[in-house]
Symmetry: D2
Subunit: 348 residues, 4 copies
């Protein structure tokens, strides 16, 4: 049994991770931390969680380091920087769900997060934890930078195209719609029920911190320097991200050819599904699951050049965070990759 700890286990991603790990047949959860809830039973703080007598610990790294081999970090950025470093130096493997080890270039990190990265050498060791792109590296990684929710939906939607010469990389637009759990669990006026309900709005247009993460991975895939325009929106629902992605084409291409490309690219992927026959992804169909549904559309009317429209749907807390982290763990420890993640999402 792998001994695993979750640091920062009282936010939405943290508790979701705890929930998944408690049902995982190969894992024993040995510690879960929360500063505000230290000493309380997890099942008292989250009455949906059953089957555990665990209490929250406070974040004492020296003590905790002895209690587990794998550490999931659901800590704020900056805090995560040093915690990863400490655990890595202690010989532990780490899956970091913060943004701290996702950007390879510390200058880009500093530009977007407004603080320096104090552990730049470790950035080279960190593997960007998107199994569909880096499965081989994940197996042996000691530090996994688990991807952001928006980036997961954007990168999986675009990956099969990025190395192709028929797309125009300098005009990609990602228009994303997210459920409210992405904003976290801390009380804040804009995320009160009466503010979110019955409303849709855009936010952080062209300045959202997930932008450089998407660009880094798309650039790697396309062997060039990709800039995207990213627009997130807040939707009155708990979970789910739908990304509608616009890709200008350099030359004509047929829709069946693109669909074939996507099917081949994700042929062996257990959690990516290409919808056929003009079916539209819906966030509800992936809510509660680790899946990414993708569908491809072609607009032949748009100007002299065509535009591809890719629509991808994920559960932001699962494939966009904690589910994907468990998938990474399965790969790292040689468990069946789908263990604990394979059930169909419930509906409605």
């Amino acid at each position: 049994m792998l001994k695993a700890a979750v640091l920062g286990g009282s936010g939405y991603t943290g508790i979701e991770l705890v929930r998944l790990l408690l049902s995982h047949p190969d894992v024993e959860v040995t510690a879960v931390t929360s500063e505000r809830s230290a000493g309380l039973l997890i099942s008292d703080v989250f009455i949906n969680v059953r089957n555990t007598e665990l209490k929250y610990d406070s974040l004492d790294l020296k003590v905790l380091a002895k209690r587990a081999d794998l550490f999931f970090l659901c800590l704020p950025h900056k805090t995560s920087q040093e915690t990863v470093a400490f655990l890595h130096n202690a010989g532990k493997r780490v899956i970091d769900l913060s943004a701290d080890y996702r950007l390879k270039n510390p200058k880009v990190y500093e530009e977007w997060y407004k603080i320096p990265h104090l552990y730049a050498p470790l950035l080279k060791k960190a593997v960007y934890g998107l199994p569909e792109l880096y499965r081989k590296q994940i197996r042996k990684a000691s530090i996994i930078a688990n991807p952001g929710c928006y980036p997961t939906s954007a990168i999986l939607g675009l990956a099969p195209l990025m190395a192709k010469d028929f797309i125009n990389v300098s005009g990609i637009i990602v228009d994303s719609k997210s459920g409210t759990s992405g904003a976290g669990r801390s009380p804040a006026q804009p995320f009160m029920f009466c503010e979110v309900n019955e409303s849709v709005k855009a936010y952080s247009i062209a300045v959202h911190r997930h932008t450089p993460e998407i660009e880094q991975e798309l650039s790697a895939l396309s062997h060039g320097n990709v800039r995207i325009l990213f627009t997130p929106h807040l939707i009155p629902m708990d979970r789910g991200i739908l990304s509608t992605i616009y890709v200008p084409l350099k030359r004509k291409i047929s829709l069946p050819d693109v669909q074939k490309l996507y099917n081949q690219y994700y042929h062996n992927e257990p959690f990516v599904r290409i919808l056929q026959n003009g079916r539209y992804p819906a966030t509800k169909a992936v809510k509660g699951g680790n899946y990414c549904d993708i569908s491809v559309f072609l607009d032949e009317r748009s100007g002299k050049n065509q535009t591809l429209i890719i629509v991808s749907a994920i559960d932001n807390l699962l494939k966009g965070a904690s589910g994907n982290a468990v998938q990474n763990m399965n790969i790292m420890y040689g468990f069946e990759e789908t263990t604990g993640l394979l059930a169909s999402p419930a509906s409605p």
Copy 2:
């Protein structure tokens, strides 16, 4: 591997049952029927459902009877009457999720459902499938009448009290609040999004068909003739039933004594939890799980006699329907009772 079929698998309870059975380690789903979707892939009709190549069959009982040993029926009442009879005569075991075999007295059935019961002798063989009350009988039953969603929440909330002499059985009020999936999947104007959203309303006050079912079981528990007042409400959410139950007392009693009574009554039940410390059940904490959360409150101010207030919460499609049906199956076939049902519900 138990071969199981789901008759009527394109409604909300039907597809939820299919989803649960597809993940069950001891079951093979051999047939799922749907008249409107016959011939289509289940995963095309419900894009949330994965990991199956099954297509919907039409309801040809002679053919189907050969393909499974256990039949789950998610058919309309009346249709279920004869289908149960046919399968029973063919030597099959049946878990019927309709109301057709729940009421022991065919006259009561006819009074509330406005049609005669044509298979009255079979009513005696049918076991009311609430494991917390009838676990022993369920083991050997050939016909299970799976309880209604409202009755499950009401009966589990009241069972520990019914044989006690300190309650006044002739004044029990059950005020229930249900999510919209309880109304089924067929298109109907009152259940359109814009009608349900941002509204709460009562319906079928004092005339809802679940009334006699609740009364039958409470009467059996209290060894008397119990009449209740039942008021269902429609809530703008997908799933969940919260029942607020008012029980007038004949004499003073302390809240800790009642809590102790509930804790003892459900001590060995894997799916019933008594919340402590004044915690309030919330439907979200049981959404997606087979659990029933119960909390007990005492109003000492109400007149010369006290009133107990019991609050119970279930997921209407799981403990209130398909999850409970799987629990019954586990009992009938000697599987571990919690198999396929034990994961904590997700939140949010």
Copy 3:
């Protein structure tokens, strides 16, 4: 033009009041206060509000007292106590939307609000501002205690019955369901979108502070000492209160007789409507309006004595707060009582 000020205008009831007064033909809004938003344009804080250049002031009573003749107070209880006293002494008329002047008995106030009432003599001058009960007194009142949202729904639902000898006053249960705006606009974890959405729960069972207010008014109507059992619930919607009220009867009565009683009682009321023909009130049908819809049902099955079930629906921010406050103002100043309040609510 009546000069009116709103003290505490950045909560949900405050801004709703501002919105109504800005459209009122006989009123000029001369000041609106908010400590957290002082100096900001109201229309910048609430982008839904148009047609005003007003900025928020801070609460400097000496300055404000000169700027208006009528003061609406949407302040926290306790703060309201002294503010009402100050303005009253300055010769101003006040409509207080807090709970501070609703309870006639200062001991009851202290028992439920845990602070003493320092202005007990003023309690006698304050009129409980429910026009359907106290229209005559409201006309000349200098202090109006605007009713609580739950009490409005409960009292209007029960008023026609309270003096009747066929009801049993010691067994009335009020089971209320409220939208989330009733919890106010201040950030708090339990009212975050992801906590409220897709859930229903009870709270403050048998201990909610609106209980003594309901009892005070029902006692006055029944010429006796009424105790009720009040259970509030939180519903995933913005606005609306539905109260399902259970009234045990001492002797048989016919439903048409009760309906006639209700129709007569509210015959001249512009904002109370008795639904006929078994129609069910829905909060959506009153959302955005100052109306109270009521429907009466009779359960003849409940024990040897019958039970009446009254269902009432209001918009908690309008008839339950700010709309009712404007109605009071209209009465106090001799405006047409329905001015600014008569439009039908929008739907959906």
Copy 4:
């Protein structure tokens, strides 16, 4: 008093129109039709509607033509074609809320609606009823083609830019998010509560019928042939359209210059507001009002050419349908243009 009739008054736009007209001081509603509800009181079919004793009539044009001077048509396309023609020939003025008279070119109409237009000559007489573009022509028009909901949000968002040489008209993308009332009131499985709630999805990508309407008006504004890419999405809320519009630029421009352009263009418009200081439009801020909120953003990172992002928000049933129709009526009859439409929307 203007005598007005609403043909097709039992859908969401129809009843919203009836509601607005019943509160309009210069209008008498003399007839409202509904085939399915003929003979019923409007206030019985829609319990939110008060203050009217009107019953639904069936659609007998010969009778109805005598009862009003202005006819609002909320009929399905095709039916509207001939009804407009009949009423026009009878000398009546018509505001048609269907799509039948919006497209000037009957071939384009036939291409998208799959039926011929049998009254092509009347198309020339019809005025596209967007007051911000055609106020002068609306005054004298006998036939108003009231714009579609999506086109209103897109055209108002883009109008100030279309004649400018710094934009690239052949690359405009309109990504729209709509509440569910846009789908109408007729029962249909995809719009059931449990299907829409907790989900977001795209639909009709690149093939939605509002596309040619948007293109027609943008082409007229730009004096050229504009093709757009339009992607609608369904959002779990009742009302509101948010359009996020991407406009590629031919050369650099500063954001303040664009904001100034928008402010000047809409300077005298009572219902269009340009938000300043990076504020984001939200559909909730316009819900229940006839307003259109617009905000402009600039992405300087997107490739060598910049991209403008325009976000516009309307209530699809008001500025996107019935409110705009009343605004047209006010203009046609010389009423103050804002009569009956000026109140601030409620919030939350």
